[in-house]
């Protein structure tokens, strides 16, 4: 069982992460409206899709490609959502049995709830961290999306407020903690180069999808692998 101290620490982490991420929902709401969505479409994305990376990806493609870029927008959002499936596999033993509970847990399975849960040391604290972080962000992210969409509607040109630059910074913030080893750094650099080269020649959305192939090539061949693992596999 989790001690009182472990529980309190999981609770604190949930609120710290939850409030920071929720506040950022304002940018999503405002940018979604600037990309041509109405307020309700922005809210449906936060209510149903509920995955920041995928949400920014879909509005990013729609902003410049319009409805014609729909298939690429859907593919980009879905590919980015694949990691949530991995998180679900990882946290599923923490959640335990019961289909209704697991269905709700599925909806709450995002970067932050997984990160807070897996950072705790006991099962009780992991469970608390997952549900608290997921619930705080779900409520906060949706409220802030609505607020941002209303503000965006009133503000008009969000470029004037630098909100378009905020999207790039947000993606950088999502990828930053993953760049701790040679392999992900190589993939990040490779994908960035592929994207910038393809931007002028391919329709909206496709440069991002093709850049993802860099990960498949490196992942399957295990290029740039950590040294210990290479030695282990040779033995």
């Amino acid at each position: 069982m989790a001690t009182e101290m472990e529980r309190r620490s999981a609770w604190r982490a949930s609120w710290a992460v939850g409030l920071a991420v929720s506040a950022y929902g304002v940018s999503f709401g405002a940018l979604a409206v600037a990309s041509g969505l109405d307020i309700w479409q922005a809210c449906v994305l936060s209510l149903v899709m509920f995955s920041g990376g995928s949400q920014f990806a879909i509005i990013g493609v729609l902003a410049t490609g319009g409805v014609a870029a729909g298939p690429a927008a859907i593919a980009g959002a879905t590919l980015l959502g694949l990691r949530n499936g991995l998180y679900a596999i990882r946290v599923s033993p923490i959640i335990g049995p019961g289909w209704a509970k697991r269905l709700l847990a599925g909806h709450f399975t995002i970067d932050e709830s997984t990160a807070v849960a897996t950072a705790q040391s006991s099962l009780g604290a992991q469970r608390l961290g997952f549900w608290a972080t997921g619930a705080i962000i779900y409520v906060g992210w949706n409220l802030m999306t609505l607020l941002g969409a209303i503000l965006g509607d009133l503000l008009g040109d969000v470029r004037q407020f630098g909100l378009d630059a905020a999207a790039g910074a947000a993606f950088l913030g999502l990828v930053w903690p993953r760049l701790r080893a040679r392999q992900p750094i190589a993939v990040a650099v490779g994908a960035a180069v592929v994207a910038v080269v393809l931007l002028p020649v391919l329709p909206q959305g496709f440069p991002v999808l093709i850049a993802a192939l860099v990960a498949v090539v490196v992942g399957v061949s295990n290029m740039f692998a950590p040294r210990e693992r290479v030695r282990g596999s040779l033995r």
């Binding site: 991995l86 910074a169 913030g173």
Partner: protein
Amino acid sequence: MTLWQIILLASVLVLGIKVLGYLVPPRVLEAPRAARTAELTTVALLSALVVVQTVGDGQGVVVDARLAALGVAAALFALRVPFILVIVAAAATAAGLRALGWG
């Protein structure tokens, strides 16, 4: 496709992936190649999205205030400044430069 159809289809797909994950036995993650490739795919997509959001301009590349804002964001992330403050600083950088008439 209408905008609503795009939004609903993408939303259901992303939610479906999360729910499906709970049906998969956890030992699947023990296959290192699948786990590694999935994790790297996230890195590649996010990195490409940084590029597209920062220098993309429809079907083309343009250097403007967004690139300066991204530089500020990178420096602040390296200094371990909290996420939300970095986002505000990046937006303020772009807004400030545009107020000065650049980008």
